[in-house]
Structures are given as structure tokens and as C-alpha cells.
Amino acid sequence: MSAALPVAGEAAQPAAQARYVLRLADTALVLGQRLSAWIGHAPALEEDLGLANLSLDLIGQARLLLTYAGELEGRGRDEDALAFLRDAPEFANLTLAEQPNGDFGQTIVRQWLIDTWQLQIYQGLSASRDTRLAAIAAKALKETRYHYRFSSGWLVRLGDGTDESHARVQRALDELWRFTTELFTPDELDERMSAAGIAPALAQLAPGWSARIDQDLATATLRRPAAQPYPWHGKCGVHSEHLGHLLGEMQHLQRTYPAAQW
């Protein structure tokens, strides 16, 4: 902020960048929180550990991103303040991330859709002009490659499994597909970030994502649902009814006993 005489528009850049980083952070945080609810309930002990590992990776990504967003914002909020003391309209996660776990198949479909999205985003961000964001993305990309291996493996097992498992994942896909329009529909902030060389252009990432989706669905013998025109706007703070409940549980302790430590 001490830079001499910023040109018009540049002064507001850190604030806009903070809002953009919060989108990435909140998607990771909310999905990590969702996955943590599987602990003790997964279909097998080994899957329990697998989902917990995914959750921990995502919360780790969220911590790095939230800390950075807090610094960019410059209002003295650290990762904990951002995670535990914001209300739903201030959360900027993708609407898809907050959708309920449902059955194991629905969790896998949600995971796979976000993993494939994160693969594209983190890959693009690792070439960002923002070197700090690029470093976080490069680290997250390694984790995401494993997440994708996990979720795509299960997608194929369930899709190309029994009649029951096939029907369940197809139903989950049909249910969640409407939230995928948001993934690659840029808004003003997305466009501003890509114009500044900070974020990849979503329109350029969409074909790669779509091709991967089609390939996996073909292997899993699943049908791609029809495109939905309404994009949802979780990343702008307009959420489905599920986020408030999730935050209620996640933030309960810090809200009830502010600054509690253990």
C-alpha cells in the first residue's frame, strides 16, 4: 500500500484480490467441513481415513488462502476470524461445495465435480502473476491430483458397478449438475482478475474441464445431464439454504465462546 501514486483502478486491486482469494478459500473450507462429517460414518475404515485426508488437505488449503485473503484485505482479520466470524452472505464458496453429503455416491459426485474444477483452476493459478497465490496453487494442485484420483476412481466403480450404485450416482449427478454452471461462468471479479494476470480466464478452462468430465462419465457409463441456464451465485454470497446450517455447526464454538482456545 506504500507504493507511490498508484494509477487509477490499481488502488482498489488488493481489496478485489482479497475477494477473489476468499472464493477459493471458502470453497476449500466448506467442502473440507462437509467431508469431515463422514468421519466415523464412511462405508469402510479405509474410506473413513481417505475422506478425512481429503478434508484435511482442503482445510489446509483454506488456511493458506484465508490467511492471504486477510492480509490482502488489510482489516486485521486472520484465518480464524475469516472462517469462524463471517455470516453466510460473506462466504464466497461455490454453491456446489455446500450441498449436503447425501449418500456416499452423492459425496463422490460432488467431490469429483469440484476436483475436476480445482485441477483446472489451480493449474491456471500456478502461473499467476501473484507469486504467493501461484505457490499456494502449486501445492494445492499436488493434493488435488490425488483427490481426483480418489473421486474419479469411485465414480467409475459406482457408475459401472451394480444397478443400485449406478442408479444412485446418476441420481446424484442429475441433482448436482445444476450447480456446475457457476464453475465456469465468470462475473465481473473473475474477469478483472484474469485481465490482471492474477487468475486464469474461466472461459479458456471450460473446454478442458468438459472434456475430462465426458471422458470420466463415459468410463463410468453415466449420462451427462442437460445444461442448466441458472448459474447460482455462491461465489457472490448468494447461497442455497444449506450453507447457514453448515456454518451454524462449524462456527458454534467460536461464536459461543469468542477467542476460546484449547
Binding site: 462405508p43 469402510a44 474410506e47 481415513l49 481417505g50 485426508n53 490425488y146 480418489f150 476412481g153
Partner: protein, 94 residues
């Protein structure tokens, strides 16, 4: 569900150059899943750089009943240990 999955034995190489060591077993539907499970169960604390898995039923073990016949005959053949060579002073670290 895991009762329906076959058992796999897991071997982890802790560092490049070292051998794979048996670390335990787990259930998985197939070898690919077994490697993923092994990664999640046995390499959480950076224990390894390589994983082998093998179906437990594919391991053949010696019969404990035959231990005497198999291992006792080696007991009185101490000359098989390389301890009867005179080692030159110049050779260090042998």
C-alpha cells in the same frame, strides 16, 4: 462392506535405496484401491516413497510345524557365518 473386500498385505519403502518392508494389511476391492488405501492408512506421516500390495491369499507361508526340519539343521553350521576370515588392518568399516 469391507468384509466383502479381500485382504491385501502392504509393503512400504521408506526411502529410495532401502527395501520394501511389510507394514500391515487392509481390505480393498482391488489392487488400485489397495494402493490408495495404503497411502491413506500407512503413509500419513511421510513413512514412504513407494508402496507394494499383494493379495494375502497369494502369499504362501512356511508351516510352523515344520520349523524344526526347516531351521534347526542350520544351527550347528556356524562356519556359514563369515566370521572365520582374518581381516587386514587396512580394511576399515567392514
Amino acid at each position: 462392506m469391507s468384509e466383502d473386500w479381500p485382504l491385501f498385505e502392504v509393503f512400504i519403502r521408506s526411502r529410495a535405496g532401502l527395501e520394501h518392508k511389510h507394514v500391515g494389511s487392509l481390505h480393498a476391492a482391488d489392487a488400485r484401491m489397495a494402493i490408495e488405501h495404503a497411502r491413506d492408512v500407512y503413509t500419513r506421516r511421510q513413512e514412504g516413497v513407494s508402496i507394494w500390495v499383494v493379495r494375502s491369499v497369494d502369499i504362501r507361508a512356511s508351516d510352523p510345524e515344520e520349523a524344526e526340519a526347516l531351521f534347526e539343521p542350520a544351527r550347528d553350521k556356524v562356519y556359514r557365518h563369515p566370521t572365520f576370515y582374518a581381516i587386514p588392518e587396512e580394511v576399515k568399516n567392514l
